[in-house]
Structures are given as C-alpha cells and as structure tokens.
C-alpha cells in the first residue's frame, strides 16, 4: 500500500524580488514499511520536501496523497488533524517541552487527539517502553542525555500509531555513537513494528541505514535507489 504518493510536486518561494523554485516536479511514492533517507546538499530542497511531506506546508503545484488522503487543498485546521493522526515528527533538536516530564511530553499528540488521561498514559508508557525508556518516564528533559531525549521524542512520534515517522536530521545533534543507537532504534521500529520511516539527512553513513535513498539536487530528484539497486529516476 502506498503511504505517500507525490505527483509533479513543485514549490515556489518569493525571496525578495526573486522567485525561487525549491522543488521542481518531484514525483515519487513511498510504500508501507519502507525506510527512506532523503539526501541532498543544503539548498537542494530537502527541507522543503520534508515540510510538504509533513503537511506543514502546501505545495505550489502537483498532487500529494498521504495514506489515501488528498491533502493539496486542505485547510489549516484539517492539516493539523492530518499531522496529528498520520505523521510522527522527530526533530534534530528533539524539541521536548522543557517543563514537562518524559511521559507528559509523549502524551501531547494524544491530547490534541482529545484522548482521555488514562488512555494517554497507557499508550505513552507503552511507547516509552518501545524506545527503552520505561525507567525514566518521570524525568524532565534536562535530566536526560541527548540520546535519551531523542528517544523520548521518538516515543512521542510513535505514540499515536502514525502512518509514517518523519525525521529531520535525527542524529544531527548527537555524537556518532549515540546517533548509531538512534538509527538502530529506527531499524528496530521499521523491522519489528513495521513502521514506515522517512528521514532527511546530509550524512551518507546515516542515510545508509535506510533501505532506499532519494537524492535531491536543486529541487530535483537525481537518484532514487533502494539497497537492491537503482529503481527509477
């Protein structure tokens, strides 16, 4: 089943007087259980692509379907719901609420779903167990290491059982060893929990953890290869 279906997506920005085309007719699909790395140098449009995939921004042109939902013309409010239901975000700098403990942080997506406290707690505990942090549920972010904070963020991303985990440079703020552990967690979630993962990275070694690498240059896909070999361009 196709989780992401992008057809001729382009995105234009106005930067001062100049029109910048950040994405040019990008088309691809991502199937369930894939672990995709999107790579490209800065300015290649990978962040823009991530924003469009994450329903944080609309494309200027083209069609985008996420888990069967056409999101091209959805309202801001509907986009919020789509993000909440179908996407689990993982950020470079973790972005946890500093004055809430781990379990409270993990509960947040469920709060916006309107779930009751008891249900939330159970799901959040389960998610924290999945990332191996059941011992530190009541710690504040400041009491956790960077790797542990990122694990809390990953628990927050998976707690609502989204269609896709969207990670923006998930190891960017971590040392290599901790970064590798996070990647192993991703592989674990991908293999054992059958989660679909899309990550944006500029590190070749990190990208290699995925089973498919999409390379962007100047807003265009220049290669799209799975670990099995070149698929299509």
């Amino acid at each position: 089943m196709d989780i992401i279906k992008m057809g001729n997506i382009s995105k234009m920005y106005k930067s001062g007087q100049i029109q910048v085309e950040a994405l040019k007719n990008v088309s691809f699909t991502i199937k369930e259980k894939e672990f995709v790395s999107i790579m490209g140098p800065s300015g290649s449009g990978k962040s823009t692509l991530l924003n469009v995939i994450g329903c944080l921004d609309h494309a200027s042109n083209g069609s985008y379907e996420l888990s069967g939902n056409v999101v091209d013309k959805l309202s801001d409010s509907k986009m919020s719901e789509i993000r909440n239901m179908f996407i689990g975000f993982v950020f470079q700098n973790f972005h946890l609420l500093p004055r809430a403990n781990a379990i409270k942080n993990v509960e947040i997506p469920l709060i916006y779903r309107g779930m009751s406290g008891k249900e939330r707690k159970e799901l959040a505990e389960h998610a924290l167990e999945m990332v191996g942090l059941e011992e530190r549920m009541h710690h504040l972010p400041s009491q956790l290491s960077g790797g542990q904070q990122q694990r809390v963020a990953i628990a927050r991303a998976i707690v609502g059982n989204p269609s896709i985990i969207l990670a923006d440079e998930p190891t960017g703020a971590l040392d290599t060893k901790t970064g590798d552990l996070i990647m192993e967690l991703f592989i674990d979630l991908n293999k054992k929990q059958s989660m679909t993962i899309v990550q944006v990275t500029h590190e070749e070694e990190i990208a290699e953890y995925g089973n498919r690498i999409i390379r962007l240059v100047d807003g265009e896909i220049v290669s799209d290869e799975s670990s099995g070999g070149i698929l299509n361009v």
Partner: protein, 443 residues
C-alpha cells in the same frame, strides 16, 4: 455520542491549553511579577480612590440625614445679624410652603446635675415644632408645648442615650435634672436616631429655646430652622427667604441661594457688612463646616436641595476622575501585558512550531496565549484588590472616611480582565497565525 465525544475532546484540549498557559507564566517568574505589578497598581488605585470617594459620599449622606429632609437652615455668621423669636414664628405666614419653624439656640458645656452626678453637656434650645422639623419621635412622655416655650418652663426632653444612662434603661420621665443650677422636669425621651445621625441628638438634651437663651445669657438667636412640605416648596421658599434676608443683611451681601435676586438700594441704614469670621460653634458637628462653607458670608440659607446638588456635582467629578484613572490603569497595565506576551510569543516560537507539528490547531495556541494574559490580569486583580483594601484601611486610620465598596471591586475586576483580554488578543493571534514551517525554522 459523537457530539459528547467532541465536547470531551475539546475539554481535554482546553485543559491542556490552560495548563500550558500556567506553565508559561511560571516560566519566567520575575517577568510575570513585574507585569502583575502593573495591573495591580492600577486596580489598587481604583479600589482605594473609589473607597475614598464612597466614604466622602457616605459622609455627605449622613449630613443629609442630620439636616433632615426639606429642612432649611437660616444661619447668621455675623455677630450683628441676629434673629428674634417673632421673626421665626412669622416665617410660615410670610413664606409659602413653609410649615414649621423653630429658633435654635445652642449651649455648650452646660453643667448638669443628676442626683449626685455632675457633668457637662451640650443643650439644644428649640420650640415645640422641633419634632416635626427633624422627624423626631417621642419614645416616652411628651415633647414640651408652646406654653412651656412661652413661659420659659424648666422642662427637658432627653436624647435616647442620655435618658438610657440616667436610670439604666428605665424611663426618667417625671424625674428632675439640674441644668445650670435649676431643676428641670424631664417630660419626654426622644426615640433613638442612631450614631452620627440627627445631629447626634441621642446624646443631647432638648429644652425650650427661651430657657436656653437664659442659660446662654443672651437674647440673640443666630439660627432658625424651617421645614417645607416638599422639595419644590423648599426651593421656592429658599428664593423667598433669600429676598427677605437680603434686605435684612444689606446690599451686595451674597446670600445663598438668593443670588440672582440681588436688589440694590435697600435699607441704607444697614452698613455694608465686612465679612465676619465665623465663630466656631462646637455645637455644630465638624462636618457641618463643609455644609455651611463660605463662612465669610454673613448669613447663609442652606437646604438639603443645595446639598444634593453639591454632592451630585462632587460625585460626578469623582466619577470622571475615577473613570480617567481606570482608563489609564487599563492602558498601562494592558500595555505591560501586551509587551510581555509579545516577548513570550517570540521566545516560544519554536515551541509553537513543534506543537503545531504535533497537531495543535490555531485555536489551541490562541486560547493558550490569551489565557496566559488573562491569568496575569487575574493575579494582578487579586493582588490589586488586597493592596487597595490595605490602602483604604491605612487612609481611614488617618481620619479620612474610606471604605472598600463592592462597586470598586467590580469595576477593578472588569477593567483588569478587559485589559488582559484586549491586550492579550493581538499577541495570541500572532502566535496562532505563525505558519508552522516558519515557527519551526526559528528554533
């Protein structure tokens, strides 16, 4: 079921927004404190100033009550202007609308002897119409009669407290009391008027003015009280009285409220009066000094109606002043809130982005930041009311009558909440309108 589910999920989100707002004001306590201070100073100003205003109003009201309804006081402030008893008696026939009149004679620190106890007391000398003029009820016995007055009889009517103290609550009617060395028969006791009311009559002794003149060793009556049927009559009577006494006092003298009817060229034998300083009469309660202001006038005619007008005007000025203070405090406190909220939104832009990414809608953030502003104003309000009440107690300790009125608290709460909402809206809208992508970028 569906709608119930929606409502409960809405409540869950609302609760979270409220919690996040609390978290927000807790995140920088010093800043919150300073913002709260801005609001609370404004609220305290409103509460304390309105308290002082209300206290002033209350004291004017008690002056009304001491004067009595539709009572006109004709008072000489100059030694050479005096009235005689006949003059007072003639007023009802000369002035339309006047029903009752009495000369009023005060004595001060008159020696009183009750059995073996000696004391000094203030005595009021009036005629038999006094109870009608001041709406006094006689509790036991009777008020003295016109015959008593004419015959300068040694009879006395006691104020409620005076009577109570003599025989521990039993009626002293029929007993005798020595006033200035002469035995007076107690013929009646007046009903209680209450503290600070009715000129403090509860603590006074009332005797015929003829007797009082004797005690005071004078023939000069300096004060006449007249009672009209209605406030319209009182107004009319004031004008007529003004005319009558204009003649008596002389040209150019400004008699209130007879101004506008100044007639020239009358009574050339009366010299132009140099205003005489008013002799302070301890008999007159201190507050009356305000009532009979402009002591430089040789003769004043005062009625409740004038006082009502003056009090009205004073109240209006007070209201305008307080309105101004409330508006300024709203502005200053509100600007403080707006300032701090704009900073808070800027500071938490990244957080806003993350929350949007996790599924927060615009409303969630709007409510959060609006509530944060309202929290600040609520805290400011509570602190301000406490500060204001404290200021009121201090002020009233120094003799100014001031009270914390419910009105002032209501206005303060309204003003503070309005300013919180009003000035919190813009930053909150700013927060909710941040595009998620932009917000995330600014981390």
């Amino acid at each position: 079921m569906q709608s119930r589910g929606n409502i409960s999920s809405l409540l869950i989100r609302l609760k979270f927004s409220a919690m996040m707002a609390l978290d927000g004001i807790g995140s920088n306590l010093l800043r919150t404190f300073l913002t709260v201070l801005g609001i609370s100073i404004g609220v305290a100003a409103v509460v304390s100033l309105m308290g002082i205003g209300e206290g002033a109003r209350k004291s004017i009201v008690s002056q009304f009550e001491s004067l009595g309804e539709n009572v006109i006081v004709i008072k000489s402030n100059a030694e050479n202007i005096t009235f005689d008893a006949k003059e007072a008696e003639e007023i009802p026939s000369r002035v339309t609308g006047i029903q009752y009149t009495t000369p009023v004679v005060y004595t001060q620190d008159t020696p009183i002897r009750w059995r073996r106890d000696e004391s000094k007391m203030n005595i009021v000398g009036v005629n038999e119409q006094y109870p009608q003029i001041k709406d006094h009820k006689v509790l036991s016995g009777n008020f003295f009669t016109s015959l008593h007055v004419k015959q300068r009889s040694p009879v006395a009517v006691l104020g409620y407290n005076v009577a109570n103290n003599l025989l521990n609550g039993r009626s002293p009617v029929g007993q005798t009391l020595k006033i200035d060395g002469i035995n007076y028969r107690i013929v009646g006791v007046l009903a209680e008027k209450g503290k600070d009311k009715g000129d403090g009559i509860d603590d006074k002794i009332v005797i015929p003015y003829t007797s009082a003149l004797k005690i005071a060793n004078t023939k000069d009556i300096l004060e006449i009280w007249a009672k009209s049927n209605s406030s319209e009559d009182a107004e009319l009577a004031m004008i007529q009285l003004g005319r009558i006494y204009q003649r008596k006092v002389g040209i150019g003298s400004n008699i209130r409220p007879g101004n506008g009817q100044e007639e020239e060229g009358m009574e050339p034998d009366m010299p132009m009066e140099e205003p005489m300083p008013e002799e302070p009469s301890p008999e007159v309660p201190g507050e009356k000094e305000n009532v009979f202001e402009k002591g430089e006038e040789p003769l004043t005619i005062t009625s409740l109606n004038n006082l009502v007008k003056e009090a009205d005007q004073a109240n209006r000025i007070m209201t305008v002043l307080l309105g101004g203070i409330a508006a300024v405090s709203l502005l200053v406190g509100g600007i403080g809130i707006m300032n701090i909220m704009l900073v808070a939104v800027t500071e938490r832009t990244g957080e806003i982005g993350v929350r949007r990414a996790l599924g927060a809608k615009k409303e969630d953030l709007l409510i959060q930041f609006l509530l944060e502003a309202v929290y600040v104003s609520i805290i400011g309000c509570v602190v301000g009311i406490i500060l204001g009440a404290w200021a009121v107690t201090i002020v009233s300790k120094y003799g100014l009558s001031a009270i914390v009125s419910f009105d002032s608290i209501r206005i303060a709460v309204f003003v503070a909440l309005t300013s919180g909402l009003l000035f919190g809206v813009y930053p909150a809208i700013n927060a909710s309108n941040l595009p998620p992508v932009e917000a995330l970028k600014r981390q």
